[in-house]
């Protein structure tokens, strides 16, 4: 890696101040993507602003609306341990990476990175969660803007994510054999007012909602409601692990499985 300075502020306000000092300054969450990137010299920040010392963005609680509120600096392991009221979210967090990743990686870091194969984006989008930042609240539908792109401004930090708890939910992850990221992951969440289906890993545009499936499931929450439905292979990622057609096929298979398992 290239040489850099590191700061470890203890408040969100201090972190934001440091980040806004220069475009070359970079927030560091759990470092599960950024540190390998630095090691490969693919990034050269002047100052790394380490968020791990900010206690106010750690932990899991429940708000008055019954939402599970997870601090942006909470590790996947702590998300799994603290989100018992939302079993599908627990399962998802428990199956990210390996124990080392889960003990370092954070929900805020994952969402800010918005890797097209990451799991959290599917959970946030399917849950209709709200992303709280150092500046504002962003609805899930407004947050994800394509592969590695989000609505976050420079220097804006995710401080909390608020998950409404669905009546039923399930996450199906089909692992890419090498990285064990989602080759395709489908998160299905059934609420009183409708069903949300979010798909990660598949699209060149990053996580997306499969609205056709949502409508079908809204009327009849059963796998058979999805018979004959499919997403087009166009626009799906095609790489050495699977063609766009294969990924499109998996979207249907996994959505059905998620509904059955919910």
């Amino acid at each position: 890696m290239y040489a850099f300075e590191i700061e470890r502020p203890s408040t969100v306000a201090d972190a934001v101040k440091l980040l806004k000092q220069s475009d070359e300054n970079q927030a560091l969450g759990g470092g599960q993507t950024l540190i390998p990137t630095l090691k490969q010299r693919l990034a050269a920040p002047e100052v790394l602003v380490c968020l791990s010392g900010i206690d106010e963005i750690k932990g899991v609680c429940t708000d008055d609306d019954g939402r599970i509120c997870i601090g942006g600096g909470t590790t996947h392991g702590d998300v799994a341990a603290g989100s018992g009221a939302y079993p599908a979210l627990v399962w998802m967090a428990q199956n990210i990476g390996d124990p080392a990743v889960r003990n370092r990686g954070t929900i805020g870091g994952s969402l800010a990175n918005n890797d097209p194969s990451a799991c959290y984006p599917a959970a946030v989008l399917a849950s209709g969660a709200t992303v709280v930042t150092s500046e504002r609240e962003i609805a899930a539908d407004e947050f994800f803007e394509g592969m590695f792109a989000t609505a976050l401004n420079e220097g804006e930090i995710i401080t909390e994510v608020k998950f409404p708890v669905p009546e039923k939910a399930n996450y199906q992850k089909f692992e890419q054999p090498a990285s064990r990221f989602a080759l395709v992951g489908v998160f299905v969440a059934k609420f009183a007012d409708g069903v949300r289906v979010a798909v990660t890993g598949a699209s060149e545009e990053g996580v997306f909602r499969w609205t056709e499936a949502e409508e079908a499931l809204g009327g009849n929450f059963s796998a058979s409601a999805l018979d004959g439905l499919s997403v087009p292979a166009d626009g799906m990622i095609s790489d050495l692990h699977g063609s766009g057609a294969y990924r499109a096929h998996l979207v249907s298979v996994l959505t059905k499985r998620a509904v059955e398992a919910a």
């Binding site: 290239y2 040489a3 490969q40 010299r41 089909f174 054999p177 090498a178 990285s179 080759l183 790489d239 050495l240 692990h241 699977g242 063609s243 294969y246 096929h249 998996l250 298979v253």
Partner: protein, 787 residues
């Protein structure tokens, strides 16, 4: 009853204590006073003309001692190839130069262009970024068949084409084979790819070069499976340093699998630069760098035809293989698709007519050489796949088809130039069917169906040629080295023994199993014996460890040396007891006079050898130290039968291995636990090849699977609990221990049974799928099911 020591005992691996407690001494643990660090600037294009390398900016960077380019190596030799293959027409293979640092052209992504030596690793890396390289891109030569077409871009401009050799084996068989295929009642044809693999030893390669100005001695610490071979190749052919001025040390080495056999440019560089700069120079390979600089394995494209008569007897096998050499010839590369592959095409079967054609091709990829099994997995895979396909085409049981064609009488001379000494293929097949519980398969199939899964059973046999190798034979075949092994047994005054072996242990457990042999021969405790290896300064010239040769060849040398020790010790004992040497018996570490109660202990004899106050000095010299060199009379031929049971998810194509059984005949077994461990590791690698490991280059020669994000190594949950058995033992007839070797069997025997099992599962479900190329990733299996 299991033994508690000596040959046949499952003694715990003594070396594991240091490996597991962080007390090992790996090459990267070696740091010398005044050490500098090298960073290699590697080509990021697959093929191009190297117009210029401007190092001026880099030379002035902080901490930089010197920047080397190809021009600095004009005075030394290139990296040599250790094997010459003669083609079908009696001509030698085309052998291109392989400079330490690129000269004139770059030929694969990862080809080293320049090397920066600096005070720190990061400074070297910083300076490497300041080197200005001007390369004119050339089209990348990637597809082997395209590479051989008239007018194809050449990887090496000075060669006549990209063809290294066109090898026919046995050329004289060709007419008879063609005739047998023409007259066959049935011919089964299969075209397949044996996928390229990246070795991925847990410990990446490391080299530390050191030079003593006072004595003009050079030392290289390196991650090698054969330090003497490196000393010979690098000293004699690259740098011109005679052996007595060059010491090569390979201390603890964390896995090799073939990839640490070869002499690599980085080793020569560190040794060369240490002398130039009068500073120790260290290189530690990163994992990313390993993907593009460690020699890869396999990469064959093959068409195989199996001819049968009306009674389903095999009458002929004919193969045509394109074997990828990569951009340069690695140390053993030419021998892998030829002598370690063609000679095994008879497999376990009495096929009378066999002809193997191999075209070795240069491409703009990382060089390819031996990887666990080396040629034998490629032979086994194609043969065992085509037999399975033939059974399906003929509607006969694949097990019975194999049994019908088994070789059952030994010794057996194959039509491909080797003679199997022993074997019992029906015995291992019988054992296999027992341990896989074939009778229970139907029930398990029903259970899988009930869960919506497809299930399949695949079996195969294998044979390998190990105990490499008879020197006079391999010399005729083009080897530029002998393949004997050596050992020195040094008995110390108080009876403890230090064995210095030319074999090298990099995970195999020699320190334990070799000690068991000597302990057993003398009848003393294993703890009295220490096994040393890996340092050319204190071990006799040996050829190292690969080709499942250590116990069969290195162990035999050690047995011979120990026999000399015992013979001399008997003379000393006879003298001490004033008895006739003919009456001396050795049992449990005691020498006794037959028929009397007179005895002396091992330690009394050894002390007398070094304190010869009462000693037959007129008859024998003092001391108790013997060296032996052993050159095997033949290869050994381990064999066995493997079975794999898979489940396939019909919706996703995902394959899971539910059961895997291996019944091996390794001859006599020294340490059953270590042997099981060797089989387990080999199976994991074979299953990795069959299901997971996908080396993928794009058309421009960029390695797409260049990290663990895209290259899938097998993990614990990818493999089942194995059923392994090595109770079927037909001892080798020509080495003193009757051993055959076990290191590669798992990797050789397992890929075909995995693929056979998946094809079986799909066919049982009504899919007309006869073959899928490895790795059988979910997407490939799903695509095959779509038709």
């Amino acid at each position: 009853m299991p033994k508690d020591g000596g040959i046949g005992a499952s003694s715990k691996r003594r070396e594991d204590v240091r490996f597991l407690t962080g007390a090992g001494n790996y090459t990267d643990d070696i740091n010398l006073r005044g050490q500098a660090y090298v960073h290699f600037l590697r080509s990021d294009v697959a093929h191009g003309t190297l117009n210029s390398v401007d190092t001026s900016a880099a030379e002035g960077m902080p901490g930089v001692l010197k920047v080397f380019t190809g021009a600095d190596f004009a005075e030394v030799g290139g990296i040599p190839c250790g094997w010459q293959v003669t083609d079908r027409h009696g001509e030698p293979m085309q052998e291109p130069p392989h400079p330490v640092l690129a000269q004139g052209k770059v030929r694969h992504v990862g080809d080293p262009i320049a090397a920066v030596v600096a005070e720190s690793r990061e400074q070297a890396r910083d300076a490497a970024e300041a080197i200005e390289v001007d390369i004119s891109d050339l089209p990348a030569v990637m597809d082997m068949k395209e590479a051989l077409k008239e007018g194809a871009t050449k990887v090496h401009d000075d060669l006549t084409s990209n063809l290294c050799y066109d090898w026919g084996f046995v050329e004289e068989n060709k007419g008879a084979v063609d005739e047998a295929i023409k007259n066959a009642a049935h011919v089964t044809t299969l075209e397949l790819v044996n996928n390229r693999l990246v070795p991925n030893a847990m410990e990446p390669r490391v080299a530390v070069g050191d030079y003593s100005r006072g004595t003009d001695d050079s030392t290289l610490y390196t991650t090698s499976q054969n330090p003497h071979v490196i000393r010979l190749l690098m000293g004699a052919f690259v740098l011109g340093i005679p052996e007595h001025k060059l010491r090569v040390v390979a201390p603890d080495v964390g896995g090799g699998f073939g990839s640490k056999i070869y002499h690599y440019a980085e080793e020569a560089f560190c040794t060369f630069a240490a002398k130039k700069l009068n500073r120790p120079v260290k290189w530690t390979c990163s994992r990313s760098e390993a993907f593009i600089s460690d020699a890869h394995g396999r990469d064959h494209v093959t068409k195989i035809e199996l001819a049968l008569d009306a009674d389903n007897n095999f009458t002929a096998v004919r193969t045509e293989t394109y074997a990828n050499m990569g951009a340069y010839l690695s140390t053993f590369a030419p021998s892998i698709p030829t002598w370690l592959h063609g000679t095994l095409m008879a497999g376990n079967y009495k096929t009378p007519n066999i002809y193997v054609n191999v075209k070795a091709v240069f491409t703009n990829t990382v060089p390819v050489d031996a990887y666990r099994g080396a040629g034998r997995p490629e032979a086994t895979y194609q043969l065992e796949r085509v037999i399975d396909k033939a059974a399906r085409e003929l509607g006969v049981d694949p097990i019975e088809l194999r049994r019908q064609n088994f070789i059952t009488e030994f010794p057996y001379a194959t039509p491909v130039a080797v003679e199997y000494d022993t074997g019992d293929y029906n015995a291992t097949m019988d054992k296999l069917l027992e341990i896989i519980d074939k009778d229970g398969f139907q029930k398990r199939l029903e259970d899988s169906k009930a869960r919506g899964k497809l299930r399949g059973l695949g079996i195969n046999c294998y044979i390998e040629a190990c105990g490499i190798a008879p020197s006079n034979l391999v010399g005729q075949l083009g080897a530029r080295a002998g393949l004997y092994e050596s050992a020195t047994v040094r008995v110390n005054a108080t009876g403890g023994i230090t064995v210095m072996t030319g074999s090298h242990s990099h995970g195999q457990g020699h320190e334990t199993s070799f000690a068991q042999v000597v302990a057993d021969m003398i009848g003393i405790d294993e703890s009295m014996i220490e096994i040393e290896h890996g340092d050319t300064a204190n071990t006799p010239m040996g050829m190292g460890t690969y080709g499942s040769r250590s116990i069969a060849v290195g162990g035999s040398a050690m047995v011979k040396a120990t026999e000399k020790i015992i013979a001399k010790a008997r003379k000393i004992a006879a003298h001490l007891m004033e008895a006739s040497e003919a009456d001396i018996e050795l049992k449990d570490g005691q020498f006794s006079v037959a028929g009397t109660d007179k005895s002396v202990a091992w330690g009394d004899v050894t002390l007398a050898a070094y304190v010869p106050h009462n000693y037959p000095l007129e008859e024998i010299e003092p001391g108790l130290e013997e060296t032996a060199f052993y050159d095997p009379a033949n290869f050994t031929y381990p064999s066995g039968a493997y079975a794999c049971e898979v489940e396939v998810d019909p919706e996703t194509g995902k394959v899971t291995i539910e059961r895997f059984a291996a019944a091996d005949d390794f001859g006599n077994v020294i340490n059953p636990m270590i042997v099981s461990g060797q089989v387990h590791g080999g199976l994991a690698q074979g299953i990795g090849q069959a299901l997971l490991e996908q080396t993928s280059y794009d058309a421009d020669g960029q390695l797409l699977s260049a990290s663990y994000m895209d290259y899938a190594m097998p993990r614990a949950d990818d493999v089942p609990f194995y059923q392994v058995d090595h109770s079927c033992q037909t001892p080798c007839t020509h080495n003193p221990l009757g051993v055959k070797g076990c290191g590669e069997a798992g990797a050789i025997g397992s890929p075909p049974s995995v693929v056979n099992a998946v094809v079986d599962a799909l066919q049982r479900a009504g899919h007309d799928v006869t073959h899928i190329d490895m790795p059988l990733t979910p997407s490939r299996v799903w695509a095959a099911m779509q038709g």
